[in-house]
Structures are given as structure tokens and as C-alpha cells.
Assembly symmetry: C2
């Protein structure tokens, strides 16, 4: 019997290792190396520290766990199965990386209940975790009472060398250190191997010293393969430091236990193969078959179910007390936790008529944010050091800072990528917070993978992107978006709104707040725009609509977005004066328009009307679908230029005259 | 007279400050704060250290200067004017940020000779500088002789707090420390103000300690406003350390000299205004009018012209010696410096016929890289830790490492964004090197701004992006590109190639190497593909071409790229068997096709043939331009899924059957 020779801890650790080995082997695809090396730290964390309820993965006050090294997904699936999550059965583990399985190649929160965030792209997870820890700190500061701590959990991360090489992790760690998020604890799996081989070839910095420079509390466990006592002590020490996040560097061996592949890149991302698995079984004295988990290990691991149930029950008591003693806060909190805005919240959205002075849509955004912030206490966010350009400050609140976690204005610093992932973490905290993150539209490039992950992982985030075209002027081509709006439209499950005025900006925010599983990106102008006749919140919600029309069948349809809609309106007037029937369609959000039924779409863009001109100060690509072979697109497929915004717009053809001329050519 | 009260150094420093003040004031736009604070360090560097020839900005062995804090562009323009560059006259400074001026909002290498790289997006410049320093180290190791050092220059950078907050700078600094690039010297303008205010609100890390953790040599000048001796000493000390890059933190006051605005965010990005300028003149005892430079200052500064001429003359001697004594190396070097590949280099490109075993296009890329590496010694690059997945190793060379700078395989680590900017720096070193950088296509998101800057700044870089669709399989949606090919096509001045086989891959490389001012991005498959009948290098160069055709006018055109072309070929056979005239167009590069003349385009895609189906395993957006209202696109506008590649492709409709069925629907 092997059991006798292995402690229960060892048995559990090896059970994780072999589930990973067997899962990857069966799939003939995956990453066994990390789970084999990180099993001791993961087991120690899950078995001896983490508070969670496998039977209720949505329990509000659970500790959050993030596998930032997402390629090691089998580690997480093994832990979840062993701990008793219903979402990952042994059968699911056998279906690792197969069509429609609950165990995809990388952890996906939208596929597998209990997975908090979607990881795989390196460095995102640790930055998500900063967002999770921020959310906990914020909600605790806002809602906790001395006799009723509703929010009181840790955020734990396992990250690898790859995560630490990515710039996003440095950004996130720097701001987490600044904020002093003491309940964020990152276990750094220092296995000194990445895909290309030893980290000696490209990664020789002193990681611990770097985290110290960020203001983190840093610890080192030298033997992460065997010394689980040292791991436990380090986690204890990390928990004891409450004013700094902690990094525990845990030195391990990738593929631990594999006689020929341990400590090599060969075990990082490929199945071990039958022979090496056999040798690994021998080396780890594992006398069980594939996917076989010794009963003792399972029984021990499954105590998590009972622990979790009683932890949640305890918390339910606290919550009951809270609801009794602090009924008002409890009611607000319950509503926020539901993820739904209050009834009639949208009444707060500003509207305007053409008589109202038109402003830049970034200014409309500011007015809107400040109009809804009082009725949506769950709104929290800020800018990557462009607060007064993006106009994202909420005036009813102060700055989120160490010692002032209750505040809602977040200064992310010049860290777009981390901002993106932090916002995703806030949204995926699952407590109803609505994060927003802002920068210049051109710098969406710096955070594109985070935007993508908001869309993929169905996180309700509002991306506030200002200075949305060449019309920003003097800053020149490095700052002028060209391809950005089109290229963001190509991203699935993202609403890209480019509103034209007050009403459309409000409509965009309405959609953003009410879309529980789709993030919204707002492309907003630097320059002033008039309020338009015919716009409304309801129209904007539809994504595209008839802003103005002639009697009868249109000879021509002008389609515009944002700052170019008013050019279309003026051009239509001129064309109508020449006897043409011209319809103007404002299309602030192509994706929403595509979601409308066919009849509505046909009513706006009748198939029979093939003379169409789309006008947008950006790449033309996304408009050919709507103008066809007979139409034209007025756009820009080169880089912009540095000069005052009005000059640049004129030089690039964004004038009423040019719209009229182009329309006349199309009309023939 | 003011002159008597100011040393010549002080006079020169204030001349820089007031050119910046006056330039921004006249434009009513720009960033005076950084130039005012950084003038002492910039003057010290340019006047007392930098070796450059204002009259020949392309002199090969010049020191490279990068203003990573590109918003302070007036600093660079002032320096260039004062030092005697022909590209920046006083009139140009008066035209700051105006249409077609040589002094755009941010420094642009393609507008202003003497500007090495295009900066503005923060953190890019310092990472470009790592590339410049890498290029110098590499060329020196390859070509220098004990008695003839052709390459022997420094790379100097001025960077700010914003640069240091961006993750890309951390990535670049980490790898530069690893490589020990001793001739890279960064002056960190520590003015502790960013746009949102004091760095206290978001940036309180210990930057010096962080750079020490990267292995840099770190110095601190406490009074950067006045103590130019200390600045000079620090630069001396930095030069003396030859095995580590140096960071000199220089503490300054933003907007130094402005009584009311210095040390505030208000002076960062806005003109001072007439009143404050007047007060600043008084405070700095500057009795000169707008744009007036005291003759003493100009005369002193302009000594750079003479110094530069003699430095270059000296170097010319060395070069003459080199050419005499090392004729073979000199000939190779001269050819490389010309930026042109050797005659007949393209003969090395592999070709294949359908009889040749088809492989993954990433494999064809590997074969091609290794076929051309021997004839193109200027080829240098590598992967962001995916060398054996991207297949980018050059077998004729070893690894570029500290002590082995002569080698051409670069390990960037998991640092895509820095890789991008480093490649840009290598290309913009202007010495003919052709860098390539590789990762998974989905992670182009991590380096998108660097790719954009390669395109904007006309840098000949080859971006090798593998695993180009959902067909990569098990890794799942976090790793499966959907919108990437389309969204990169939207980026101006970038050739996006998605080749279908050996010949098209070779064609893509031919274009990449021969396009001096346009970078090329290759989207390559993980999975194997057949070699196609009808493909050729020449065809691929045209971007789109008729791969196979029926007799007579086509009833239908199938347009495919990359891994979907062979589906089109098979579908065409089936359709032809049913009596339809079907043309198959392979379109590996839309941008190149768009560059062909109208007659050629018409010959491939005749306007009269409106029944068209485009097939590409990615977002559909870019194809509507070519299929119109009557056509169809087989693509993917959702995220992918984790499962074996073949399964995923089938489930998403990338099958011959589905192409046939769709074509039949289109044919009606």
C-alpha cells in the first residue's frame, strides 16, 4: 500500500499532479508542468487557508482565487474537482480541452462556475486580482460595520515567470503597492523555466527586489516542492501584513516528479507520454491508475464542502444581523449585488434638444457620469492619468486611495493595460460594481487584450475613450485614432458606441449599464458638436436609426456616426434643396443595429436603396457592408497629421461640401 | 545687459526654455513644462557629450538621442535648431504643430531628419532605445576590428514619469539589463508631476530600486534644475560603466522658472499664457523677445556643427582604413547600410509544387527564414518566448546574449510590447538591419501600439504571427484570433499577409524584405496545408490573384486567404462538377492587391461578377468591400472554442461542404 508511505498532504498533492498528468495525456494537449510543480502551494492554499463554498461558487464573501498562469488550467480543474465543485466532475476532467467541455484549455469564468476570471494571456490574472482586491477593499470600506463585516476576504493568485515578464503585471503591481491592498496575496511559482527554456536566457532580474520597490511585502519559500510548512508559514505571514500586498516567491521544479522531463521546457506545454508517466508514477510512488483518486485524498479534500458550508452559514448570520441593524445600507447593497440598476435609474440620464448648446461628447459623457453616479452607487472608475481630458471625475466622491477605499474616483496612473484588467477584475468580483476605465482612444492599443478579455469574459465594463479622431488636432498622428473604431467593432461581444450628441451619449450609457454580459466602449470627441434634431435615447439604444428623412423613397442614404452626423445633416439639406430625397441615418453602434430584427433594419436601410454614403473620420473598412458596390465611404485610410483640429478635418475631406460632392457622384 | 548675469551655460539653457515657451504659446497648444524642467539635462547632454553631426543627421556612428517623453517635443526641436540642424529652422519652430510643418506635435522620424524615432505614446521611446543600443552592440560585435571601430556610439534617452509607469518600459528595461547594454544611458526626468497632478496620487514606487532589480547601474542627481556639473558627472559615470545600462534619475521641477505654474500639472500640457510668460521672463532674467535667441547662446550651441564635422571626418578615416584592410567585410557592410538586399537574394526563397508535402505556413516561414538568413546577414530577430511554436530560430546563428552580441537569434522573453518597440528601434537605427519579432497572432494585442508605430514611422520590420485562427484548437478562445487579421488590415501602411502555402509564404517574405518603408505582418497557421496549383511568389506579391478558373466568364468567385484557400479550391471543383463557372482568387494581402492598377484589379475581380463568396477563419468585416450586397462571407464573428483544431474548424463551418452550400445560396 502506498498510502502508508505518504502523508495525507502528500497524497492530496500527488492526486492533483496525476489528475493534471492524466488529463493532459488523454487530451494529448495541455500543460502538465505547472500543475506538477505548483501542486504543493495550491494544495496548501486551498486546504489550509482559502474560505470558499464549493457548493455555492457565488457566495459573496468567498476568497477569490486567480490562476494567472492560466495555461496550468488542469491545476485549477483538479483543485475544483477534488474540493467538490459541481462544475468540474471527474468526467469533465476526462473531457479536458474537448468541444463543449467544462474544462477548456484555459480557465474561462463564463464556462465553469467557480472560475473567477478568464486567464491564459499572461499577466492578466494578477492584474484582475488587483481589481478583485480593490473591489473587496472598496465594498468593505463602504458597507462594513464594526459588528458586521460583510466584505472580508482575501484574493489569492498563482502566477508564473511569464506573468512576471509581462509589463501589465508590473503596472498592476505598482498601483497595488501604491494602494496598499493588504489582502492581495500572490504566490509566484518560481520554476525558472519558460517556453524557450531556462529563464537564464531572458529573465535574470531580481523579481523580489522589484516587488519591494513597488511597496509590496515580499517572502521567499526556498523549497516549494516539499516544504508545505514553509508555504503555510509564508501565507500566514502574508495575511498578517495588512497594509501591503504580499508576494511569496516559491521556488519549485516544473514537472516535479518526472524523472526525465522535470526542470525542462519539455514538460511545460506537452503531454508527458505513456512511458514518462509510468516513470513518474514510480518516482512519486503513485500506485493508482489514470484518473484514480485515492479515497483518503478525496475524503480529505472534500472537507472543503463542510468548511465552506459553515463559513457561508456564519456569514449568513452576519448578513442577517446587518439587514436588521442597517436596513438602509442592506437594501442598497442587495440591489447592487443583484447586478441590476434601480428602477427608473435612467430618468437621471440627461437629454437635450437642438436649442441646447452642443458640447464635445466627452463633455456630455462627464455630465452623464455625474448625473448617474448618485443613483448608481456601484459606479466606480477613472482614467489612466487623463482625468481632465477624458472628463471622468465623479464629483460626488473623492479619490480611491490607501486609507480612502470608500471613494469612487480611481487614479490608475499611466497604466492603460493594467487599468483594463483591473476593471475586468472589479466587474468579475460579481458584486454588481460597474467599473469604467478611460484613456485616449488611440491608447486602446495599449490595453487591447484587456478590452478583448472584458468582451470574452462577459464583464460589464464601460470603456470611456475620448479624442476619437483626427479632429483632436495638434497632437498629431501618434495620438489620432484611424483604425481604432473599425478594429474594435471587429471584436466580438463589444458594443462600440460613437455618439453624436447629448441624447446619443445618454443612450450609450443606458446600454452600457443595462448590458449585464457585454462591455461597452464609448468613442467620444474632443471637439464640440451640435445637439441634433431627431436624436433620442431610445433611438441610440437601437444602434442605428433614421435621424431625418425626405418624403417618399430616398434617392440616397447618408450614414454617419459621432462627429460626422451633423455633416450628413447639413449635406442632406443641400441635396434636398437640389430636389433629392435624402435620408440621414445615425449609426452610433453598429453592433446594436445588427441585433435589431430584420424588419427594423430594412426600415432603416431598405435593400432597394443602393445609393449610400457612409461618413466617419476613421478607417473605411467597417462601412462597405452598408454601402455596397454602388455606395461610397468618406473615411481615412492613412495616418493623420499634426495641425489644429478644424484644419485637419478639412484637409482630410470632412466637410459638408465633400459629403455633398461625394453624394452627387454616387447619385450619378 | 542680462548676458553678464548668466553664464553661457545658463544662457543656452534658458534659450531652450524660451523657445519651448514661445513655440507652445504661438501654437496655443503643446507641452512647455517638460522642456523647461529638462533643459539643463538636455543641454548638458547635447553640448558636452553627444557626438552627432547636425549637417548629416544620417552619419552612421552618431550617438542616438530619443525623447521618450515625446510630448516635450519642443525640447527636441529647440535643441535641433540651436545645434544647427537644417531640418529645424527658427521659422519651423514658429510653425510648431501647424499643417505640414517640420515640427509636429510629437517627434516624427519620417517628418524631421534628425529625429531618430517617433515618440509620444509613452514608454515606446525607451524601448526603441533598447533596440538602437542592441543594433549598435550587434554591429560592433560583428564588424568592428581592434584597429577600426566602425560602430561605437551611445544611445541616450530622456524619459519621464509617464514612461516609467507604462509596462512596456519595464519590459524593455528588464531585457536591457539582462543583455547588459552598457551604452544605453537613460536620463529620467523626475519631475514628479503627471497629467492628473502629483505622482503621489498614483506612482509612489521606488523607481531607482526597480531599475537596480533589472541589473541597471543607477544614479541620482538631486538638483536637476541648476546643478549641471552633477548632471555631467553622472553622465560620465554612466559612460564609465560598460556592462550595464545606466539610469540617471534627475530630479527637476516641471515648468521651472514659471512663478505660478512651475511644479503643477497646469504647465504640463498647455501654453503658459502671456502674463505668466512675462513673469517667467522676469524670474529667469530673460530680456529677449519671443523667439529671440541671444547670439552668444546660438554661437556657443552651434559649435556642435564643427564638432560634428570633425567627429564624422575622424570616423571617415576609420572607415577608409576599414575598407582598405577589411575589404570583404566592408563590402558586405556597405551593402547592408544601403538598406537594399543583394541582387538575386530572392533566388534563395523556397518554392514548391502541389507534389511537395504541404506543411503549416509557420513551418514554411521557418524554412524561408533559414533559407534567406545566410544571404541576408542583416536579418535579426526572434520571439517573445515562443521560439519553437513560432519557428523563428535561425540555424546559422547562435543566441544574442551578453558577451555574444554578434548573434542573431534574440530571446525577448514574454514581453511582446517591448519586443515590438525594440524591433522598431533596430529598424530605425538606419543601418539596414531587418528585425523580425514573433508571437501568437492573438498576442499582437499586447504589442499593437508598437506595430502601429512601425507602420507610422515607416520601419521595415517583419512581424511573424503564428497560430492565426481558431484552427489552433485546444488552447481555446483566449488564444484564438478572431478580429485580429481584419483589425490589422485596418491599420494604415502595414502589409498583412496570410499566405496559403510555400510559394505565398515566400512571396510574403519577398515583399517584407523589399518594402523599405512598410512593415509586413505574416499571419501563419499552426496546422498543415497543401501546396496549391497556381500559386507563385510573383502572384503572392500582387496581393490577390486568380489561383484557378473556369473557361469563360465566372458565375461565381470564391475568395480565400491562408488556410481557407484550399477549401475554396475543393469547393470550386465540386461546383464546377455541377456546371458552374467558378473562379478561385487567393488574396494573401489585401493591401498589396489594393495597390495594383485598376485594370489588374478588374481582371481578377470583374465588376460584372457580383456573385462572390469570401472565406476566412476570422472576422468578416474586411470582406464586404469585395463581396458586396449579393455575396456572402464565411467567417467568424463570435469567439472560438477549446477543442481539437479540426473539430473547431468544422463546427464553425470551415468545410468544403459549407463553402459549396453557401456558394449555391449566393448563386440562387
Amino acid at each position: 500500500m502506498t498510502v502508508a508511505t505518504q502523508s495525507i498532504d502528500q497524497l492530496c498533492i500527488n492526486a492533483i499532479r496525476f489528475l493534471a498528468i492524466d488529463g493532459v495525456e488523454k487530451a494529448k494537449s495541455g500543460h502538465p508542468g505547472l500543475p506538477m510543480g505548483a501542486a504543493p502551494m495550491a494544495y496548501t492554499l486551498w486546504d489550509k487557508f482559502m474560505r470558499f463554498n464549493p457548493k455555492n461558487p457565488k457566495w459573496v464573501n468567498r476568497d477569490r482565487f486567480v490562476l494567472s498562469a492560466g495555461h496550468g488550467s488542469m491545476l485549477q480543474y483538479a483543485l475544483m474537482y477534488l474540493a467538490g465543485y459541481d462544475s468540474v466532475s471527474l468526467e469533465d476532467i476526462k473531457q479536458f480541452r474537448q468541444w463543449k467541455s467544462k474544462t477548456p484549455g484555459h480557465p474561462e469564468n463564463f464556462e465553469t462556475p467557480g472560475v473567477e476570471v478568464t486567464t491564459g494571456p499572461l499577466g492578466q490574472g494578477i492584474a484582475n486580482a488587483v481589481g478583485l482586491a480593490l473591489a473587496e477593499a472598496h465594498l468593505a470600506a463602504r458597507y462594513n460595520k464594526p459588528d458586521a463585516k460583510i466584505f472580508d476576504h482575501y484574493t489569492y493568485v498563482i502566477m508564473g515567470d511569464g506573468c512576471n515578464m509581462e509589463g501589465i503585471s508590473g503596472e498592476a503591481a505598482s498601483i497595488a503597492g501604491h494602494w496598499g491592498l493588504g489582502k492581495l496575496i500572490a504566490l509566484y511559482d518560481d520554476n525558472h523555466i519558460s517556453i524557450d527554456g531556462s529563464t537564464d536566457i531572458a529573465f535574470t532580474e531580481d523579481v523580489c527586489k522589484r516587488y519591494e520597490s513597488y511597496g509590496w511585502h515580499v517572502l521567499h519559500v526556498e523549497d516549494g516542492n516539499n516544504d508545505i510548512e514553509a508555504i503555510a508559514k509564508a501565507i500566514e505571514a502574508a495575511k498578517a501584513v495588512t497594509d501591503k500586498p504580499s508576494l511569496i516567491k516559491i521556488t519549485t521544479t516544473i514537472g516535479y516528479g518526472s524523472p526525465n522531463k522535470a526542470d525542462t521546457a519539455g514538460v511545460h506545454g506537452a503531454a508527458l507520454g505513456a512511458d514518462e508517466i509510468e516513470l513518474t508514477r514510480k518516482s512519486l510512488e503513485w500506485n493508482y491508475g489514470p484518473f484514480e483518486v485515492p479515497e483518503d485524498a478525496l475524503n480529505h479534500f472534500r472537507k472543503a464542502v463542510e468548511r465552506g458550508a459553515s463559513a457561508e452559514a456564519e456569514w449568513n448570520q452576519v448578513w442577517a444581523t446587518y439587514k436588521t441593524k442597517y436596513a438602509e445600507e442592506a437594501a442598497e447593497l442587495e440591489r447592487i449585488l443583484s447586478g441590476k440598476p434601480p428602477a427608473n435609474w435612467a430618468d437621471a440620464l440627461p437629454t437635450a434638444t437642438p436649442a441646447d448648446k452642443g458640447l464635445a461628447t466627452r463633455k456630455h459623457s462627464e455630465v452623464t457620469l455625474n448625473a448617474i453616479a448618485p443613483v448608481l452607487p456601484e459606479l466606480i472608475g477613472g482614467s489612466a492619468d487623463l482625468t481632465h481630458s477624458n472628463l471622468t471625475e465623479i464629483h460626488v466622491s473623492g479619490d480611491f486611495q490607501k486609507g480612502a477605499y470608500e471613494n469612487r474616483n480611481v487614479h490608475f496612473g499611466v497604466r492603460e493595460h493594467a487599468m483594463g484588467a483591473i476593471c475586468n477584475g472589479i466587474a468579475l468580483h460579481g458584486t454588481g460594481l460597474i467599473p469604467y476605465g478611460a484613456t485616449f482612444l488611440v491608447f486602446s492599443d495599449y490595453m487591447r487584450n484587456s478590452i478583448r478579455l472584458s468582451a470574452l469574459s462577459e464583464a460589464r465594463v464601460i470603456w470611456v475613450m475620448t479624442h476619437d479622431s483626427i479632429a483632436l488636432g495638434e497632437d498629431g498622428p501618434t495620438h489620432q485614432p484611424i483604425e481604432h473604431v473599425a478594429s474594435l467593432r471587429a471584436m466580438p461581444n463589444l458594443y462600440v458606441y460613437r455618439p453624436a450628441d447629448t441624447n446619443e451619449t445618454s443612450g450609450a450609457y443606458k446600454v452600457a449599464v443595462e448590458s449585464a454580459t457585454t462591455p461597452t466602449l464609448l468613442a467620444l470627441t474632443r471637439q464640440g458638436l451640435p445637439n441634433l434634431e431627431g436624436s433620442s435615447i431610445e433611438n441610440a439604444e437601437k444602434g442605428g436609426y433614421i435621424l431625418s428623412d425626405s418624403e417618399g423613397t430616398p434617392d440616397l442614404i447618408l450614414i454617419g456616426t459621432g462627429s460626422e452626423v451633423h455633416l450628413c445633416v447639413e449635406a442632406a439639406k443641400a441635396l434636398r434643396a437640389n430636389g433629392k430625397n435624402v435620408r440621414v441615418v445615425s449609426m452610433p453602434c453598429v453592433e446594436r443595429f445588427e441585433e435589431q430584427d430584420a424588419a427594423y433594419q430594412e426600415s432603416v436601410l431598405p435593400k432597394a436603396v443602393t445609393k449610400r454614403v457612409a461618413v466617419e473620420a476613421g478607417a473605411t473598412m467597417s462601412w462597405y457592408k452598408y454601402v455596397g458596390f454602388e455606395g461610397a465611404v468618406i473615411g481615412i485610410d492613412t495616418y493623420g497629421a499634426s495641425a489644429p483640429g478644424g484644419v485637419v478635418m478639412e484637409k482630410f475631406g470632412f466637410t459638408v461640401d465633400n459629403v455633398v460632392k461625394t453624394a452627387e457622384t454616387v447619385l450619378g
